[in-house]
């Protein structure tokens, strides 16, 4: 009997192709809108997450000053870190993959008769581990180079391109401010901007070299730490806080004069915002789905009146009430499911194209597709029931007499 209803419904839809198409247009648009909105929203969330993740995995960044994002060493009178602080963390706290003391400043780099202003960072080899950097060519620093603060450097992909174009600069020398240094390595491009800055526009030198030659002091402004196990981040954070408080001789009541930033928290905070947006857009789009459902009910009601005679004939020939009910219900559900299907196809195309335009990753979201499809079929049942019931209740004689 179900199979019969399916065949009957299919025939009826085919017989009124244009009307069927117009009927489901609302559902098509609704489903397409919901899926596109949610897919793009999720893509945006993913983009934010990717950006933050590209900073490094399980990354903690320790800076002086009370608040995050304050310029390092700012706030006046707050003592800077020393290499020894990093050393102490390395020695006393377990479960850390990398502890990288760093200093950074902007400097003009000259090579091939070109000037380029870039961010120069002084660090040791843990910098590459903590920041998830890998080498394109060359090598990282040797112990001797770190120890004595020699003039060697690694270039980020953007800096390399700006200065040398397609040339291979390994082994050549470039000038930073008033001294020249040898290029010993090129970093692989991360391709992700983070915090509004191109990470690949960078020059890395041994910590001591930058301290002595560019800054003229022994300060460390940032310590980047990579925690081995994601679940230990909070634990590590509190242990580091305790250790640093001790080393900086803070008494019980005093506030921290440094801060530890957990990149994961930032990722969560940022992606939380885009998720709210996604939900909101999805909700707005679902309203159009509902409107589409009402459209189906309208057409089904018209169709019952229009087809009163047909229903009369079916009843006279011996159709049961529930068979007529099923027929109309199946028709409504098939219409809306068809609309859902077309909507899904449209949405897939639209989100694929739009995510390219908006530069967010495209990811097929099976959940929302299933949900939207189920919802549209549900709308068919919901809004198809009333007209179907009306059809099934008709009196055969009156229905036959209907003009």
């Amino acid at each position: 009997m179900f199979w019969n209803s399916l065949i009957l419904a299919m025939r009826e839809i085919r017989r009124n192709l244009l009307r069927s198409f117009l009927t489901i247009l609302g559902i098509v648009i609704g489903v397409a809108a919901v899926i596109t909105m949610v897919t793009l929203g999720n893509g945006a969330t993913q983009a934010v997450k990717n950006q933050v993740a590209s900073l490094g995995s399980n990354l903690l960044q320790i800076r002086t000053g009370q608040r995050m994002m304050e310029p390092p060493g700012g706030g006046g009178g707050v003592p800077n870190f020393r290499v020894e602080d990093a050393q102490a963390i390395r020695n006393e706290i377990s479960g850390l993959a990398a502890v990288s003391p760093q200093v950074s400043r902007t400097a003009t780099v000259v090579a091939m008769a070109k000037n380029w202003s870039t961010s120069v960072t002084g660090a040791d080899n843990d910098f590459f581990t903590a920041g998830n950097w890998s080498l394109e060519t060359g090598r990282t620093f040797s112990d001797a180079e770190l120890e004595t603060g020699q003039s060697v450097c690694l270039l980020g992909a953007t800096l390399r391109k700006e200065l040398y174009g397609t040339r291979e600069p390994l082994g050549e020398r470039l000038r930073v401010k008033n001294f020249s240094c040898e290029i010993i390595g090129i970093l692989k491009a991360k391709g992700q901007a983070a915090m509004g800055r191109d990470q690949d526009d960078t020059l890395i030198m041994p910590l001591k070299t930058v301290q002595r030659r560019l800054l003229g002091n022994n300060d460390v402004s940032t310590i980047s730490i990579s925690v081995q196990d994601e679940n230990n981040i909070t634990q590590a954070q509190s242990e580091i806080t305790e250790l640093l408080r001790k080393r900086r001789r803070l008494t019980e009541g005093e506030d921290d004069n440094f801060n530890i930033m957990d990149t994961r928290q930032i990722a969560d905070a940022l992606s939380g915002t885009t998720q709210v947006m996604t939900t909101l857009l999805g909700a707005v789009a679902s309203v159009s789905l509902l409107v589409g459902g009402i459209g189906i009910m309208n057409i089904m009601l018209v169709s019952v009146t229009e087809r009163t005679r047909e229903i009369g004939i079916r009843l006279a020939i011996g159709a049961l009430e529930r068979e007529v009910l099923m027929q109309f219900l199946t028709e409504a559900v098939m219409l809306s499911a068809l609309g859902g299907l077309i909507g899904i196809i449209l949405a897939t195309l639209a989100s694929y194209v739009l995510s390219g335009v908006m530069n967010v990753p495209y990811e097929f979201n099976a959940g929302i597709n299933l949900l939207a499809f189920g919802f549209s079929a549900g709308i068919g049942v919901l809004f198809g029931f009333m007209p179907a019931k009306r059809a099934a209740r008709l009196d055969p004689i009156n229905a036959l007499r209907h003009e």
């Binding site: 009997m1 019969n4 009957l8 025939r11 017989r15 005679r309 047909e310 009369g312 004939i313 079916r314 009843l315 006279a316 020939i317 011996g318 159709a319 049961l320 009430e321 529930r322 068979e323 055969p396 004689i397 036959l400």
Partner: protein
């Protein structure tokens, strides 16, 4: 065995001032295998009676027994099943499904009987063949003449080989050659398949094919005769 027993059947339409009694106490017994022609002037209650016989309508008063089942006691769905498995209808106004091919129209009763699609196709083609429309299966009603539509309606009624065939003016739109062909088909169905037939007709020479002629006048049965040609004044009466 009595297939049908009507006892004091009345049917009243409307209420109050507009009330109209279309049947005024009809008694009628039809045996299995009978072929009854129902005649009578327009408005005398023939179609009303046919609707009641076909369980499409419930009488206002009286009792209707079909195969010893009292029809008034059945509910809507039970009556639908009775129609599905025992009755074949030819309606006065054809009542074919619009925008649906003749073939599909004829298949419809089989669909509700749950027959497989190949069975349906075969049976429908055979029925169309019987009414001389084997070449017209894929045409929709608007593409068919009145007579052809009527024959599709007949094919739809006989495709299930029903126990009881109810035909309301099955030859009303046919030329006399076709009419005689259809009547011969009905006679054949009646004789070789034992299908009981009740047929409304205005044409005395069609009624001649029946074994029995029941005459309605003004909501009552005026005469009930077997194997007897009509008298001339009766013919004039019918033609009015």
């Amino acid at each position: 065995m009595n297939l049908i027993e009507l006892r004091q059947i009345t049917k009243t339409y409307g209420q109050g001032q507009a009330q109209f009694q279309a049947l005024k106490g009809v008694d009628l017994v039809i045996e299995k295998g009978d072929f009854v022609a129902v005649m009578g002037p327009s408005g005398s209650g023939k179609s009303t009676c046919m609707n009641i016989l076909g369980c499409l309508d419930i009488p206002t008063g009286g009792e209707y027994h079909f195969r010893d089942v009292q029809v008034e006691q059945l509910d809507r769905n039970q009556r639908a099943l009775l129609r599905r498995f025992y009755f074949g209808f030819v309606f006065q106004g054809f009542n074919l499904l619009a925008r649906t091919s003749a073939q599909e129209n004829v298949e419809l009763p089989l669909l509700y009987r749950g027959e497989s699609s190949s069975e349906r196709r075969k049976a429908a083609q055979a029925a169309l063949e019987q009414v001389g429309l084997s070449q017209w299966g894929h045409h929709t009603p608007v593409e068919l003449s009145g007579g052809q539509q009527q024959r599709v309606a007949i094919a739809r009624a006989i495709v299930t080989s029903p126990e009881l065939l109810l035909a309301d003016e099955p030859t009303g739109n046919l030329d006399s050659k076709r009419s005689h062909e259809i009547m011969e088909l009905l006679v054949d169905l009646n004789q070789t398949h034992g299908i009981t037939i009740v047929m409304v007709t205005h044409e005395p020479d069609m009624a001649e094919y029946a074994k029995r002629i029941v005459h309605f006048v003004d909501g009552n049965i005026a005469s009930d005769t077997r194997h007897r040609p009509l008298r001339a004044e009766e013919i004039i009466n019918v033609l009015e």
